[in-house]
Subunit: 175 residues, 2 copies
């Protein structure tokens, strides 16, 4: 485990049985409270995509907003939100995907990303990869080019990388 | 209208009858997409609180996360989220408040802000002020000191300032 990963892990709180029994939730709120650790985290994600000529950072609601906008600021590019169903006010496109139980839908404004623009998709956590995969498909449906996916935390056993195969994937902390 | 306000207004989209008939919604997603306008907006909010010796920026879910974390980055301080009910994983405190129809509840982690720390509360929009007032009361209930409230947009006719009276209030764009 590298120095950065160790520093970040010290700021991630593990909460047993949340949101349901048997799940060990990784809570990044202590990391957000620490300007030093948060800056390291954001700088590292930004550095990983600095040479990718990214036009926008796309953040997935809601924790992906926090990490994503910070990365966009460091890269000096615009920020585009992907939201849960029913939250965006303008013309939008949607993508539904399977969850363990049931389905979820994410949405983006139709004019969120223009055809041919390069984006990096940021979320706090890579778990099964379902949400990230859906976000990637939503973006590609409007002609965006995916430069890659960036995460603070990756839960390796859930094999989310498999769903994003062929894409650049960066995660800072692995469990 | 100042130069900054004019620049920001050009990046705010007005959407009639959203979320319901008769409401003119102010959509900041075009502003988020413009790195120059967004940077101006964030720098101006940060500058307004730069001398307030703020320990944390508190952002209110979900658009307040986007603006708030960017301001926290510029100020070099930590970020603390206030979320809608049922979203935070750890021990938390809640505050309910009246809406036009019904009630809403916001929550913060018990250890979100320590007693005596100074915070600025950031949201995208000051409308009736109900959410901001509730956030302020939640913060004061754990002994935090409110250095002020910062907003991108203020809807003047809704008189939200009245609910936050005695506090420093900064808004960049007025309608």
């Amino acid at each position: 485990m590298g120095k950065l990963e160790k520093m970040l892990k010290a700021k991630i709180r593990s909460i047993p049985d949340y949101p349901k029994k048997g799940i060990l939730f990784r809570d990044i709120t202590p990391l957000l409270k620490s300007p030093k650790a948060f800056k390291e985290c954001v700088d590292r994600l930004a550095a990983a995509f600095a040479k990718e000529k990214v036009d926008y950072v796309v953040g997935i609601e809601a924790r992906g907003f926090i990490i994503g906008v910070a990365v966009a600021q460091v890269l000096g590019v615009g920020f585009v939100p992907i939201r849960k169903e029913g939250k965006l006010p303008y013309k939008k496109i949607s993508k539904s995907y399977e969850l363990e139980y049931g389905r979820a839908t994410i949405e983006m404004h139709q004019d969120g990303v223009e055809r041919g623009k390069r984006v990096v998709v940021i979320d706090d956590l890579l778990a099964t990869g379902g949400t990230s995969q859906a976000a990637g498909e939503l973006l590609e449906s409007v002609g965006a080019k995916i430069a890659g996916f960036g995460f603070v935390v990756e839960l390796k056993d859930l094999n989310g990388r498999k769903k994003l195969k062929g894409k650049k994937i960066v995660s800072l902390v692995k469990y």
